[in-house]
Protein backbone atom coordinates (compact mmCIF):
# COMPACT_ATOMS: atom_id res chain seq x y z
CA UNK A 1 0.00 0.00 0.00
CA UNK A 2 1.22 3.45 -0.99
CA UNK A 3 0.66 5.31 2.28
CA UNK A 4 3.67 5.20 4.64
CA UNK A 5 2.51 5.95 8.17
CA UNK A 6 5.94 6.89 9.43
CA UNK A 7 6.87 9.19 6.53
CA UNK A 8 3.71 10.91 5.30
CA UNK A 9 3.46 14.30 7.01
CA UNK A 10 -0.09 15.24 6.02
CA UNK A 11 -1.55 18.68 6.61
CA UNK A 12 0.17 20.67 9.38
CA UNK A 13 -2.10 21.40 12.36
CA UNK A 14 -1.88 25.19 11.90
CA UNK A 15 -3.18 24.79 8.35
CA UNK A 16 -6.25 22.87 9.52
CA UNK A 17 -9.40 24.88 10.15
CA UNK A 18 -12.99 25.56 9.27
CA UNK A 19 -15.65 28.22 8.93
CA UNK A 20 -19.16 27.64 10.25
CA UNK A 21 -20.44 27.50 6.69
CA UNK A 22 -17.90 24.85 5.80
CA UNK A 23 -18.86 22.76 8.81
CA UNK A 24 -22.45 22.51 7.70
CA UNK A 25 -22.39 21.14 4.17
CA UNK A 26 -25.16 19.86 1.95
CA UNK A 27 -26.37 16.61 3.48
CA UNK A 28 -26.54 13.37 1.53
CA UNK A 29 -29.79 12.29 -0.09
CA UNK A 30 -31.56 9.59 1.90
CA UNK A 31 -33.20 8.44 -1.33
CA UNK A 32 -30.44 8.73 -3.91
CA UNK A 33 -27.09 8.18 -2.18
CA UNK A 34 -25.70 4.68 -1.81
CA UNK A 35 -26.37 3.10 1.59
CA UNK A 36 -22.63 2.58 2.04
CA UNK A 37 -22.06 6.34 1.85
CA UNK A 38 -24.30 6.61 4.91
CA UNK A 39 -22.46 3.66 6.47
CA UNK A 40 -19.13 5.47 6.06
CA UNK A 41 -20.55 8.72 7.46
CA UNK A 42 -21.86 6.96 10.56
CA UNK A 43 -18.67 4.95 11.03
CA UNK A 44 -16.37 7.96 10.72
CA UNK A 45 -18.56 9.98 13.04
CA UNK A 46 -18.11 7.18 15.55
CA UNK A 47 -14.35 7.20 15.04
CA UNK A 48 -14.21 10.98 15.58
CA UNK A 49 -16.37 10.74 18.67
CA UNK A 50 -14.05 8.14 20.17
CA UNK A 51 -11.13 10.45 19.35
CA UNK A 52 -12.82 13.14 21.40
CA UNK A 53 -13.71 10.92 24.34
CA UNK A 54 -10.24 9.41 24.46
CA UNK A 55 -8.62 12.83 24.20
CA UNK A 56 -10.62 14.16 27.15
CA UNK A 57 -9.78 11.14 29.30
CA UNK A 58 -6.12 11.46 28.37
CA UNK A 59 -6.10 15.18 29.18
CA UNK A 60 -7.54 14.50 32.63
CA UNK A 61 -4.65 12.17 33.41
CA UNK A 62 -1.71 13.95 31.73
CA UNK A 63 -1.06 17.60 32.55
CA UNK A 64 1.82 17.95 30.07
CA UNK A 65 -0.31 16.71 27.16
CA UNK A 66 -3.28 18.98 27.81
CA UNK A 67 -2.38 21.74 25.35
CA UNK A 68 -1.54 19.60 22.32
CA UNK A 69 -4.60 17.46 23.05
CA UNK A 70 -6.79 20.56 23.25
CA UNK A 71 -5.46 21.92 19.95
CA UNK A 72 -5.99 18.66 18.18
CA UNK A 73 -9.36 18.07 19.80
CA UNK A 74 -10.70 21.35 18.45
CA UNK A 75 -10.07 20.11 14.92
CA UNK A 76 -11.46 16.66 15.61
CA UNK A 77 -14.59 18.13 17.14
CA UNK A 78 -15.16 20.09 13.95
CA UNK A 79 -14.45 17.03 11.84
CA UNK A 80 -17.09 15.14 13.83
CA UNK A 81 -19.52 18.00 13.29
CA UNK A 82 -18.97 18.19 9.55
CA UNK A 83 -19.40 14.44 9.22
CA UNK A 84 -22.46 13.98 11.41
CA UNK A 85 -24.22 16.94 9.80
CA UNK A 86 -24.02 15.12 6.45
CA UNK A 87 -27.02 13.05 7.55
CA UNK A 88 -30.14 14.70 6.15
CA UNK A 89 -33.06 15.77 8.33
CA UNK A 90 -35.56 13.51 6.57
CA UNK A 91 -34.06 10.51 8.37
CA UNK A 92 -36.43 9.78 11.23
CA UNK A 93 -34.61 8.66 14.39
CA UNK A 94 -35.57 5.03 13.66
CA UNK A 95 -34.29 5.33 10.10
CA UNK A 96 -30.97 6.64 11.41
CA UNK A 97 -31.02 3.73 13.84
CA UNK A 98 -31.37 1.31 10.90
CA UNK A 99 -28.30 3.00 9.42
CA UNK A 100 -26.38 2.54 12.69
CA UNK A 101 -27.21 -1.17 12.81
CA UNK A 102 -26.24 -1.56 9.16
CA UNK A 103 -22.83 -0.15 10.10
CA UNK A 104 -22.57 -2.57 13.01
CA UNK A 105 -23.47 -5.56 10.83
CA UNK A 106 -21.55 -4.85 7.64
CA UNK A 107 -18.41 -3.42 9.24
CA UNK A 108 -18.20 -6.03 12.01
CA UNK A 109 -18.74 -8.81 9.44
CA UNK A 110 -15.96 -7.42 7.23
CA UNK A 111 -13.64 -7.14 10.24
CA UNK A 112 -14.47 -10.65 11.50
CA UNK A 113 -13.31 -12.15 8.19
CA UNK A 114 -9.95 -10.38 8.02
CA UNK A 115 -9.09 -10.43 11.75
CA UNK A 116 -5.82 -12.38 12.11
CA UNK A 117 -6.45 -13.46 15.73
CA UNK A 118 -8.98 -16.34 15.80
CA UNK A 119 -10.21 -15.53 19.32
CA UNK A 120 -10.88 -11.91 18.40
CA UNK A 121 -12.58 -13.02 15.17
CA UNK A 122 -14.90 -15.13 17.31
CA UNK A 123 -15.63 -12.15 19.55
CA UNK A 124 -16.60 -10.09 16.47
CA UNK A 125 -18.86 -12.86 15.17
CA UNK A 126 -20.44 -13.07 18.62
CA UNK A 127 -21.22 -9.34 18.69
CA UNK A 128 -22.29 -9.35 15.05
CA UNK A 129 -25.24 -11.69 15.63
CA UNK A 130 -26.51 -9.45 18.41
CA UNK A 131 -26.50 -6.30 16.29
CA UNK A 132 -28.04 -8.38 13.52
CA UNK A 133 -30.98 -9.11 15.81
CA UNK A 134 -31.30 -5.45 16.74
CA UNK A 135 -31.83 -4.70 13.04
CA UNK A 136 -34.75 -7.12 12.98
CA UNK A 137 -36.35 -5.59 16.10
CA UNK A 138 -35.92 -2.00 14.91
CA UNK A 139 -37.23 -2.90 11.45
CA UNK A 140 -40.38 -4.24 13.10
CA UNK A 141 -40.66 -1.00 15.08
CA UNK A 142 -40.17 1.15 11.95
CA UNK A 143 -42.79 -0.86 10.07
CA UNK A 144 -45.38 -1.00 12.83
CA UNK A 145 -44.90 2.51 14.21
CA UNK A 146 -44.14 4.66 11.15
CA UNK A 147 -45.41 2.34 8.42
CA UNK A 148 -42.01 2.33 6.68
CA UNK A 149 -39.82 -0.36 5.12
CA UNK A 150 -36.31 -0.46 6.63
CA UNK A 151 -35.03 -1.70 3.29
CA UNK A 152 -35.37 1.81 1.90
CA UNK A 153 -32.40 2.57 4.15
CA UNK A 154 -30.64 -0.79 3.71
CA UNK A 155 -31.03 -0.89 -0.10
CA UNK A 156 -31.09 -4.73 -0.03
CA UNK A 157 -27.47 -4.98 1.12
CA UNK A 158 -28.36 -6.27 4.59
CA UNK A 159 -30.81 -8.98 5.68
CA UNK A 160 -33.63 -8.33 8.12
CA UNK A 161 -33.90 -11.54 10.12
CA UNK A 162 -33.84 -12.61 13.75
CA UNK A 163 -30.33 -13.22 15.08
CA UNK A 164 -29.37 -14.17 18.62
CA UNK A 165 -32.54 -12.89 20.30
CA UNK A 166 -31.97 -9.55 21.98
CA UNK A 167 -33.79 -10.89 25.06
CA UNK A 168 -30.98 -13.39 25.70
CA UNK A 169 -28.16 -10.92 25.00
CA UNK A 170 -28.42 -9.50 28.53
CA UNK A 171 -25.43 -10.71 30.52
CA UNK A 172 -23.81 -10.21 33.89
CA UNK A 173 -20.89 -7.76 33.63
CA UNK A 174 -18.34 -10.51 34.26
CA UNK A 175 -19.53 -12.25 31.11
CA UNK A 176 -18.98 -9.18 28.94
CA UNK A 177 -15.24 -8.91 29.49
CA UNK A 178 -12.93 -10.64 26.99
CA UNK A 179 -9.24 -11.42 26.79
CA UNK A 180 -7.17 -8.56 25.34
CA UNK A 181 -4.66 -8.69 22.54
CA UNK A 182 -0.99 -8.44 23.53
CA UNK A 183 0.29 -5.02 22.52
CA UNK A 184 3.77 -6.42 21.85
CA UNK A 185 2.62 -9.26 19.61
CA UNK A 186 -0.71 -8.31 18.05
CA UNK A 187 -0.96 -7.69 14.34
CA UNK A 188 -1.55 -3.97 13.59
CA UNK A 189 -4.81 -4.94 11.94
CA UNK A 190 -6.07 -6.39 15.26
CA UNK A 191 -5.44 -3.04 16.92
CA UNK A 192 -7.22 -1.09 14.15
CA UNK A 193 -10.17 -3.48 14.20
CA UNK A 194 -10.62 -3.27 17.96
CA UNK A 195 -10.53 0.51 18.00
CA UNK A 196 -12.85 0.79 15.01
CA UNK A 197 -15.54 -1.55 16.29
CA UNK A 198 -15.34 -0.19 19.83
CA UNK A 199 -15.80 3.35 18.44
CA UNK A 200 -18.84 2.33 16.42
CA UNK A 201 -20.49 0.62 19.36
CA UNK A 202 -19.80 3.56 21.65
CA UNK A 203 -21.48 6.06 19.36
CA UNK A 204 -24.45 3.71 18.96
CA UNK A 205 -24.74 3.44 22.74
CA UNK A 206 -24.67 7.24 23.06
CA UNK A 207 -27.13 7.70 20.20
CA UNK A 208 -29.72 5.33 21.69
CA UNK A 209 -29.41 6.92 25.10
CA UNK A 210 -30.03 10.32 23.53
CA UNK A 211 -32.90 9.56 21.18
CA UNK A 212 -34.74 6.92 23.25
CA UNK A 213 -36.69 9.50 25.29
CA UNK A 214 -37.71 11.40 22.15
CA UNK A 215 -40.31 8.76 21.31
CA UNK A 216 -43.90 9.07 22.49
CA UNK A 217 -44.55 5.37 21.85
CA UNK A 218 -43.98 3.46 25.10
CA UNK A 219 -42.73 0.37 23.29
CA UNK A 220 -40.16 2.40 21.34
CA UNK A 221 -39.01 3.93 24.64
CA UNK A 222 -38.67 0.47 26.14
CA UNK A 223 -36.94 -1.00 23.07
CA UNK A 224 -34.33 1.78 22.98
CA UNK A 225 -33.78 1.34 26.72
CA UNK A 226 -33.25 -2.39 26.21
CA UNK A 227 -30.96 -2.19 23.19
CA UNK A 228 -28.97 0.73 24.63
CA UNK A 229 -28.15 -1.64 27.48
CA UNK A 230 -26.76 -4.20 25.00
CA UNK A 231 -24.73 -1.48 23.32
CA UNK A 232 -23.25 -0.66 26.71
CA UNK A 233 -22.32 -4.34 27.03
CA UNK A 234 -20.76 -4.22 23.57
CA UNK A 235 -18.62 -1.22 24.47
CA UNK A 236 -17.53 -3.14 27.58
CA UNK A 237 -16.69 -6.17 25.45
CA UNK A 238 -14.79 -4.35 22.73
CA UNK A 239 -12.80 -2.06 24.99
CA UNK A 240 -11.70 -5.09 26.99
CA UNK A 241 -10.01 -6.66 23.94
CA UNK A 242 -7.65 -3.67 23.74
CA UNK A 243 -4.43 -4.14 25.73
CA UNK A 244 -4.77 -1.99 28.86
CA UNK A 245 -0.99 -1.95 29.22
CA UNK A 246 -0.56 0.43 26.30
CA UNK A 247 0.64 3.78 27.62
CA UNK A 248 -1.52 6.88 27.15
CA UNK A 249 0.75 8.10 24.36
CA UNK A 250 0.80 4.70 22.71
CA UNK A 251 -2.99 4.69 22.74
CA UNK A 252 -3.05 8.21 21.36
CA UNK A 253 -0.79 7.25 18.45
CA UNK A 254 -2.93 4.18 17.76
CA UNK A 255 -6.09 6.30 17.75
CA UNK A 256 -4.59 8.64 15.18
CA UNK A 257 -3.30 5.73 13.10
CA UNK A 258 -6.77 4.19 13.20
CA UNK A 259 -8.29 7.41 11.96
CA UNK A 260 -5.82 7.47 9.08
CA UNK A 261 -6.63 3.82 8.39
CA UNK A 262 -10.38 4.40 8.24
CA UNK A 263 -10.29 7.61 6.20
CA UNK A 264 -7.93 5.91 3.77
CA UNK A 265 -10.37 3.03 3.27
CA UNK A 266 -13.25 5.46 2.84
CA UNK A 267 -11.35 7.57 0.29
CA UNK A 268 -10.71 4.43 -1.74
CA UNK A 269 -14.31 3.24 -1.76
CA UNK A 270 -16.48 6.37 -1.64
CA UNK A 271 -18.92 6.65 -4.57
CA UNK A 272 -20.13 10.21 -3.89
CA UNK A 273 -17.44 12.56 -5.25
CA UNK A 274 -18.37 15.43 -2.92
CA UNK A 275 -18.17 13.21 0.15
CA UNK A 276 -14.97 11.62 -1.12
CA UNK A 277 -13.35 15.07 -1.18
CA UNK A 278 -14.18 15.42 2.52
CA UNK A 279 -12.60 12.03 3.29
CA UNK A 280 -9.47 13.09 1.33
CA UNK A 281 -9.22 16.33 3.24
CA UNK A 282 -9.63 14.56 6.57
CA UNK A 283 -7.14 11.86 5.65
CA UNK A 284 -4.62 14.64 5.15
CA UNK A 285 -5.64 16.17 8.50
CA UNK A 286 -5.28 12.83 10.29
CA UNK A 287 -1.80 12.29 8.92
CA UNK A 288 -0.97 15.67 10.47
CA UNK A 289 -2.48 14.56 13.79
CA UNK A 290 -0.56 11.30 13.67
CA UNK A 291 2.70 13.15 13.15
CA UNK A 292 2.02 15.39 16.11
CA UNK A 293 1.24 12.40 18.32
CA UNK A 294 4.35 10.59 17.05
CA UNK A 295 6.56 13.58 17.91
CA UNK A 296 5.21 13.59 21.45
CA UNK A 297 5.58 9.82 21.69
CA UNK A 298 9.26 10.10 20.75
CA UNK A 299 9.82 13.08 23.06
CA UNK A 300 8.13 11.74 26.20
CA UNK A 301 8.57 7.98 25.87
CA UNK A 302 11.89 7.97 24.00
CA UNK A 303 10.59 5.08 21.95
CA UNK A 304 10.76 4.30 18.26
CA UNK A 305 7.32 4.59 16.62
CA UNK A 306 8.19 1.56 14.51
CA UNK A 307 7.74 -0.44 17.74
CA UNK A 308 4.01 0.18 17.65
CA UNK A 309 3.18 1.10 14.05
CA UNK A 310 3.69 -0.73 10.79
CA UNK A 311 5.30 1.22 7.96
CA UNK A 312 2.34 0.79 5.69
CA UNK A 313 -1.35 0.55 6.47
CA UNK A 314 -3.08 -2.82 6.56
CA UNK A 315 -5.72 -3.53 3.91
CA UNK A 316 -8.76 -1.32 4.46
CA UNK A 317 -12.11 -2.52 5.77
CA UNK A 318 -14.25 -3.49 2.78
CA UNK A 319 -17.60 -1.76 2.42
CA UNK A 320 -19.89 -4.24 0.71
CA UNK A 321 -22.75 -6.58 1.54
CA UNK A 322 -21.51 -9.44 3.72
CA UNK A 323 -24.78 -11.37 3.41
CA UNK A 324 -23.31 -14.81 2.78
CA UNK A 325 -20.86 -14.59 5.67
CA UNK A 326 -23.52 -13.28 8.04
CA UNK A 327 -25.95 -16.05 7.09
CA UNK A 328 -23.27 -18.65 7.66
CA UNK A 329 -22.46 -17.27 11.10
CA UNK A 330 -26.17 -17.01 11.87
CA UNK A 331 -26.79 -20.64 11.03
CA UNK A 332 -23.80 -21.86 13.06
CA UNK A 333 -23.36 -19.51 16.01
CA UNK A 334 -26.67 -17.95 17.01
CA UNK A 335 -26.96 -20.25 20.01
CA UNK A 336 -23.54 -19.42 21.46
CA UNK A 337 -23.34 -17.63 24.80
CA UNK A 338 -20.59 -16.04 26.90
CA UNK A 339 -19.18 -17.40 30.13
CA UNK A 340 -16.46 -15.23 31.59
CA UNK A 341 -14.15 -14.35 28.73
CA UNK A 342 -15.08 -17.49 26.78
CA UNK A 343 -17.65 -17.84 24.01
CA UNK A 344 -19.40 -21.11 24.83
CA UNK A 345 -22.16 -23.47 23.76
CA UNK A 346 -25.70 -22.84 24.98
CA UNK A 347 -25.43 -25.51 27.70
CA UNK A 348 -22.46 -23.73 29.25
CA UNK A 349 -24.22 -20.39 29.58
CA UNK A 350 -23.21 -18.53 32.73
CA UNK A 351 -25.48 -18.82 35.77
CA UNK A 352 -24.84 -15.20 36.69
CA UNK A 353 -26.01 -14.05 33.26
CA UNK A 354 -29.08 -16.26 33.37
CA UNK A 355 -30.02 -14.84 36.74
CA UNK A 356 -29.54 -11.25 35.58
CA UNK A 357 -31.36 -11.86 32.27
CA UNK A 358 -34.32 -13.58 33.89
CA UNK A 359 -34.78 -10.70 36.28
CA UNK A 360 -34.52 -8.03 33.56
CA UNK A 361 -37.06 -9.89 31.40
CA UNK A 362 -39.35 -10.85 34.30
CA UNK A 363 -41.86 -8.06 33.60
CA UNK A 364 -41.82 -8.56 29.83
CA UNK A 365 -39.39 -8.23 26.99
CA UNK A 366 -39.74 -5.17 24.75
CA UNK A 367 -37.62 -6.71 22.00
CA UNK A 368 -39.87 -9.79 21.91
CA UNK A 369 -43.10 -7.79 22.02
CA UNK A 370 -42.07 -5.39 19.26
CA UNK A 371 -41.39 -8.16 16.75
CA UNK A 372 -44.08 -10.73 17.55
CA UNK A 373 -44.48 -12.80 14.37
CA UNK A 374 -42.73 -10.07 12.40
CA UNK A 375 -41.47 -10.95 8.99
CA UNK A 376 -39.77 -8.43 6.75
CA UNK A 377 -41.51 -7.92 3.42
CA UNK A 378 -40.66 -5.46 0.65
CA UNK A 379 -42.91 -2.44 1.16
CA UNK A 380 -43.70 -3.38 4.80
CA UNK A 381 -45.69 -6.28 6.22
CA UNK A 382 -48.90 -4.55 5.14
CA UNK A 383 -47.86 -5.14 1.52
CA UNK A 384 -49.21 -8.65 1.60
CA UNK A 385 -49.42 -9.17 -2.13
CA UNK A 386 -45.64 -9.50 -2.40
CA UNK A 387 -44.10 -12.94 -1.98
CA UNK A 388 -41.23 -13.05 0.50
Amino acid sequence: MALNLLKEKGCALDKQGFTWRELVQQPISKLNDDAFTRVRIILLNGIENEALRFSHACARMNKELQLPLAKLRRIEHHQATMINWLLSSDHSPIETTIGYEQVAIEVTAAVAQTEPDPYLAQVYRFGLLEDFDHMYRYSALLDRLEGKDSNNILQSYTDVLPGRPTSVEHRAPEDDLREHYDRTKAHPLSKMHALTIMSGEQQTHNYYLNIGPQFSDPLARQLYAEIASIEEQHVTQYESIIDPHESWLEKWVLHEANEVYNYYGCVQQESNARIKAIWERFLDYELGHLNLALDLFKRFEKRDPAEILPESLPEPIVFKSQREFVRKVLSQEADLRANGTRIVALEEDSEASKLYRNHMNSEGSPSESVATQYEWKPGTELNKGVAA
Binding site: N32, Q155, S156, P162, E368, P378, A387
Partner: protein, 244 residues
Protein backbone atom coordinates in the same frame (compact mmCIF):
# COMPACT_ATOMS: atom_id res chain seq x y z
CA UNK B 1 -30.12 21.32 -11.46
CA UNK B 2 -32.44 18.35 -11.14
CA UNK B 3 -35.92 18.95 -9.75
CA UNK B 4 -37.54 16.41 -7.45
CA UNK B 5 -40.08 15.56 -10.16
CA UNK B 6 -37.33 14.58 -12.63
CA UNK B 7 -36.25 10.95 -12.98
CA UNK B 8 -33.00 10.22 -11.14
CA UNK B 9 -30.97 7.64 -9.27
CA UNK B 10 -33.37 6.87 -6.42
CA UNK B 11 -31.98 3.74 -4.75
CA UNK B 12 -34.95 2.88 -2.53
CA UNK B 13 -37.43 0.13 -3.33
CA UNK B 14 -37.00 -3.46 -4.26
CA UNK B 15 -36.63 -2.80 -7.99
CA UNK B 16 -33.57 -0.58 -7.73
CA UNK B 17 -31.21 -3.53 -7.18
CA UNK B 18 -32.83 -6.72 -8.52
CA UNK B 19 -29.90 -9.03 -7.78
CA UNK B 20 -29.46 -7.95 -4.17
CA UNK B 21 -33.21 -7.96 -3.66
CA UNK B 22 -33.50 -11.52 -4.88
CA UNK B 23 -30.83 -12.55 -2.37
CA UNK B 24 -32.60 -10.65 0.37
CA UNK B 25 -35.84 -12.50 -0.32
CA UNK B 26 -34.22 -15.96 -0.28
CA UNK B 27 -34.40 -16.28 3.48
CA UNK B 28 -37.38 -18.40 4.43
CA UNK B 29 -35.45 -21.18 6.17
CA UNK B 30 -33.47 -18.69 8.21
CA UNK B 31 -36.57 -16.93 9.44
CA UNK B 32 -39.05 -19.58 10.41
CA UNK B 33 -37.00 -21.31 13.06
CA UNK B 34 -36.32 -18.07 14.89
CA UNK B 35 -39.62 -16.25 14.84
CA UNK B 36 -41.03 -15.91 18.33
CA UNK B 37 -44.29 -15.20 20.05
CA UNK B 38 -43.89 -12.75 22.91
CA UNK B 39 -45.60 -13.19 26.25
CA UNK B 40 -47.24 -9.83 25.65
CA UNK B 41 -47.92 -8.60 22.12
CA UNK B 42 -46.84 -5.12 21.04
CA UNK B 43 -50.46 -4.04 20.98
CA UNK B 44 -51.24 -5.33 24.49
CA UNK B 45 -48.11 -3.73 25.90
CA UNK B 46 -49.12 -0.41 24.39
CA UNK B 47 -52.66 -0.75 25.76
CA UNK B 48 -51.29 -1.35 29.24
CA UNK B 49 -49.20 1.83 28.97
CA UNK B 50 -52.23 3.81 27.83
CA UNK B 51 -54.08 2.64 30.95
CA UNK B 52 -51.22 3.65 33.22
CA UNK B 53 -50.27 6.97 31.61
CA UNK B 54 -50.37 10.38 33.27
CA UNK B 55 -51.83 13.29 31.25
CA UNK B 56 -49.54 15.49 29.14
CA UNK B 57 -50.35 18.38 31.48
CA UNK B 58 -53.23 20.45 32.73
CA UNK B 59 -54.87 23.78 31.89
CA UNK B 60 -53.50 26.65 33.98
CA UNK B 61 -56.20 28.32 36.04
CA UNK B 62 -56.60 31.95 34.99
CA UNK B 63 -54.10 33.85 37.15
CA UNK B 64 -55.82 37.22 37.08
CA UNK B 65 -59.07 35.68 38.22
CA UNK B 66 -57.66 34.20 41.39
CA UNK B 67 -59.98 35.14 44.17
CA UNK B 68 -62.79 35.87 41.71
CA UNK B 69 -65.59 33.35 41.76
CA UNK B 70 -65.24 30.67 39.09
CA UNK B 71 -68.86 31.41 38.12
CA UNK B 72 -67.95 34.76 36.60
CA UNK B 73 -65.45 33.01 34.31
CA UNK B 74 -68.15 30.50 33.50
CA UNK B 75 -70.43 33.33 32.44
CA UNK B 76 -67.79 34.52 29.98
CA UNK B 77 -66.73 31.18 28.60
CA UNK B 78 -69.30 28.43 29.19
CA UNK B 79 -69.85 25.74 31.79
CA UNK B 80 -66.40 24.26 31.76
CA UNK B 81 -64.01 27.16 31.13
CA UNK B 82 -60.93 24.88 31.07
CA UNK B 83 -62.05 23.38 27.77
CA UNK B 84 -62.47 26.79 26.17
CA UNK B 85 -59.13 28.03 27.50
CA UNK B 86 -57.36 24.88 26.33
CA UNK B 87 -58.73 25.24 22.79
CA UNK B 88 -57.95 28.97 22.76
CA UNK B 89 -54.40 28.10 23.79
CA UNK B 90 -54.24 25.61 20.95
CA UNK B 91 -55.41 28.12 18.34
CA UNK B 92 -53.06 30.79 19.69
CA UNK B 93 -50.07 28.46 19.37
CA UNK B 94 -51.13 27.28 15.95
CA UNK B 95 -51.58 30.79 14.55
CA UNK B 96 -48.28 31.93 16.04
CA UNK B 97 -46.48 28.95 14.46
CA UNK B 98 -48.45 29.56 11.26
CA UNK B 99 -46.82 32.98 10.94
CA UNK B 100 -43.41 31.30 11.12
CA UNK B 101 -44.44 28.69 8.54
CA UNK B 102 -45.53 31.41 6.10
CA UNK B 103 -42.31 33.34 6.72
CA UNK B 104 -40.39 30.21 5.72
CA UNK B 105 -42.59 29.73 2.65
CA UNK B 106 -42.09 33.35 1.60
CA UNK B 107 -38.29 32.96 1.86
CA UNK B 108 -38.43 29.89 -0.33
CA UNK B 109 -40.74 31.58 -2.82
CA UNK B 110 -38.44 34.59 -3.08
CA UNK B 111 -35.52 32.32 -4.01
CA UNK B 112 -37.27 29.82 -6.26
CA UNK B 113 -39.51 32.44 -7.97
CA UNK B 114 -42.16 30.03 -9.04
CA UNK B 115 -43.89 31.50 -12.09
CA UNK B 116 -46.88 29.18 -12.26
CA UNK B 117 -50.12 28.51 -10.44
CA UNK B 118 -51.05 32.16 -9.83
CA UNK B 119 -49.07 32.31 -6.60
CA UNK B 120 -47.68 35.72 -5.65
CA UNK B 121 -45.60 37.29 -2.93
CA UNK B 122 -48.41 39.69 -2.08
CA UNK B 123 -50.89 36.86 -1.63
CA UNK B 124 -48.48 34.97 0.64
CA UNK B 125 -47.79 38.07 2.70
CA UNK B 126 -51.49 38.80 3.06
CA UNK B 127 -52.08 35.32 4.50
CA UNK B 128 -49.12 35.67 6.83
CA UNK B 129 -50.45 39.03 8.11
CA UNK B 130 -53.85 37.51 8.70
CA UNK B 131 -52.33 34.61 10.65
CA UNK B 132 -50.64 37.18 12.87
CA UNK B 133 -53.93 39.01 13.36
CA UNK B 134 -55.67 35.77 14.26
CA UNK B 135 -53.00 35.14 16.87
CA UNK B 136 -53.75 38.59 18.29
CA UNK B 137 -57.50 37.92 18.30
CA UNK B 138 -57.02 34.77 20.38
CA UNK B 139 -54.51 36.48 22.66
CA UNK B 140 -56.99 39.27 23.39
CA UNK B 141 -59.80 36.76 23.92
CA UNK B 142 -57.70 34.88 26.44
CA UNK B 143 -56.80 38.09 28.24
CA UNK B 144 -60.45 39.09 28.44
CA UNK B 145 -61.11 35.79 30.25
CA UNK B 146 -58.22 36.38 32.59
CA UNK B 147 -56.29 33.49 31.01
CA UNK B 148 -52.55 33.73 30.45
CA UNK B 149 -51.83 33.85 26.68
CA UNK B 150 -48.12 33.14 27.32
CA UNK B 151 -48.82 29.78 28.92
CA UNK B 152 -48.76 26.52 26.97
CA UNK B 153 -52.00 24.59 27.38
CA UNK B 154 -52.11 20.81 26.82
CA UNK B 155 -53.83 21.14 23.43
CA UNK B 156 -51.28 23.78 22.42
CA UNK B 157 -48.51 21.35 23.23
CA UNK B 158 -50.12 18.48 21.34
CA UNK B 159 -50.83 20.59 18.29
CA UNK B 160 -47.20 21.74 18.25
CA UNK B 161 -46.04 18.11 18.31
CA UNK B 162 -48.40 17.42 15.38
CA UNK B 163 -46.88 20.34 13.48
CA UNK B 164 -43.22 19.40 13.99
CA UNK B 165 -43.10 17.75 10.57
CA UNK B 166 -44.44 20.93 8.96
CA UNK B 167 -41.62 22.97 10.49
CA UNK B 168 -39.09 20.44 9.15
CA UNK B 169 -40.53 20.49 5.62
CA UNK B 170 -40.87 24.28 5.38
CA UNK B 171 -37.35 24.95 6.63
CA UNK B 172 -35.50 22.29 4.66
CA UNK B 173 -33.54 24.14 1.93
CA UNK B 174 -33.98 21.12 -0.33
CA UNK B 175 -37.78 21.22 -0.46
CA UNK B 176 -39.61 23.10 -3.20
CA UNK B 177 -42.38 25.69 -2.96
CA UNK B 178 -44.75 22.99 -4.25
CA UNK B 179 -43.74 20.57 -1.49
CA UNK B 180 -44.05 23.32 1.11
CA UNK B 181 -47.51 24.31 -0.12
CA UNK B 182 -48.59 20.70 0.29
CA UNK B 183 -47.45 20.86 3.92
CA UNK B 184 -49.16 24.23 4.43
CA UNK B 185 -52.36 22.73 3.04
CA UNK B 186 -52.33 20.27 5.95
CA UNK B 187 -52.04 23.20 8.34
CA UNK B 188 -54.83 25.18 6.69
CA UNK B 189 -57.22 22.21 6.76
CA UNK B 190 -56.63 21.80 10.48
CA UNK B 191 -56.84 25.52 11.07
CA UNK B 192 -60.25 25.78 9.43
CA UNK B 193 -61.73 23.12 11.67
CA UNK B 194 -60.02 24.72 14.65
CA UNK B 195 -61.72 28.06 14.04
CA UNK B 196 -65.04 26.41 13.36
CA UNK B 197 -64.82 24.80 16.78
CA UNK B 198 -63.87 28.08 18.46
CA UNK B 199 -66.89 29.80 16.93
CA UNK B 200 -69.11 27.06 18.37
CA UNK B 201 -67.52 27.37 21.79
CA UNK B 202 -67.97 31.16 21.73
CA UNK B 203 -71.63 30.69 20.79
CA UNK B 204 -72.11 28.21 23.62
CA UNK B 205 -70.70 30.80 25.98
CA UNK B 206 -72.84 33.53 24.39
CA UNK B 207 -69.84 35.83 24.10
CA UNK B 208 -70.84 38.30 21.37
CA UNK B 209 -67.49 39.95 20.81
CA UNK B 210 -65.70 36.63 20.46
CA UNK B 211 -68.39 35.27 18.14
CA UNK B 212 -67.90 38.24 15.85
CA UNK B 213 -64.09 38.09 15.85
CA UNK B 214 -63.91 34.34 15.49
CA UNK B 215 -66.41 34.24 12.63
CA UNK B 216 -64.33 36.77 10.77
CA UNK B 217 -61.18 34.70 11.35
CA UNK B 218 -63.00 31.59 10.15
CA UNK B 219 -64.02 33.37 6.92
CA UNK B 220 -60.44 34.45 6.33
CA UNK B 221 -59.11 30.96 7.05
CA UNK B 222 -61.60 29.51 4.57
CA UNK B 223 -60.08 31.92 2.05
CA UNK B 224 -56.56 30.69 2.91
CA UNK B 225 -57.61 27.09 2.44
CA UNK B 226 -59.24 27.81 -0.91
CA UNK B 227 -56.19 29.76 -2.05
CA UNK B 228 -53.59 27.16 -0.98
CA UNK B 229 -55.65 24.31 -2.35
CA UNK B 230 -55.90 25.98 -5.76
CA UNK B 231 -52.15 26.71 -5.79
CA UNK B 232 -51.33 23.08 -5.03
CA UNK B 233 -53.72 21.89 -7.75
CA UNK B 234 -52.64 24.37 -10.38
CA UNK B 235 -48.90 23.97 -9.84
CA UNK B 236 -49.07 20.19 -9.87
CA UNK B 237 -51.23 20.06 -12.98
CA UNK B 238 -49.01 22.53 -14.85
CA UNK B 239 -45.93 20.51 -13.82
CA UNK B 240 -47.55 17.27 -15.01
CA UNK B 241 -48.32 18.80 -18.39
CA UNK B 242 -44.94 20.40 -18.87
CA UNK B 243 -42.61 18.72 -21.44
CA UNK B 244 -39.38 17.30 -19.97
Amino acid sequence: MKKPVDIGMNRTGIDSSPLLSREMLSKANLLLSRQTEAEMSDSDLRKECIREADPIGTVPFPGTLKGVAKTSLQKLSGKKPEVFIDKLGERLAFERSGVRLYEALIRKYEVQKLGIGGISLEALQKIKDEELRHFEIVRDAMKSLGADPTAMTPCADVTAVSSMGLVQVLNDPRTTVEQCLQAILTAELVDNDGWDLLVKLAREAGNAEMIQNFERALREEAGHLEQVRSWVNDITLVEAERAA
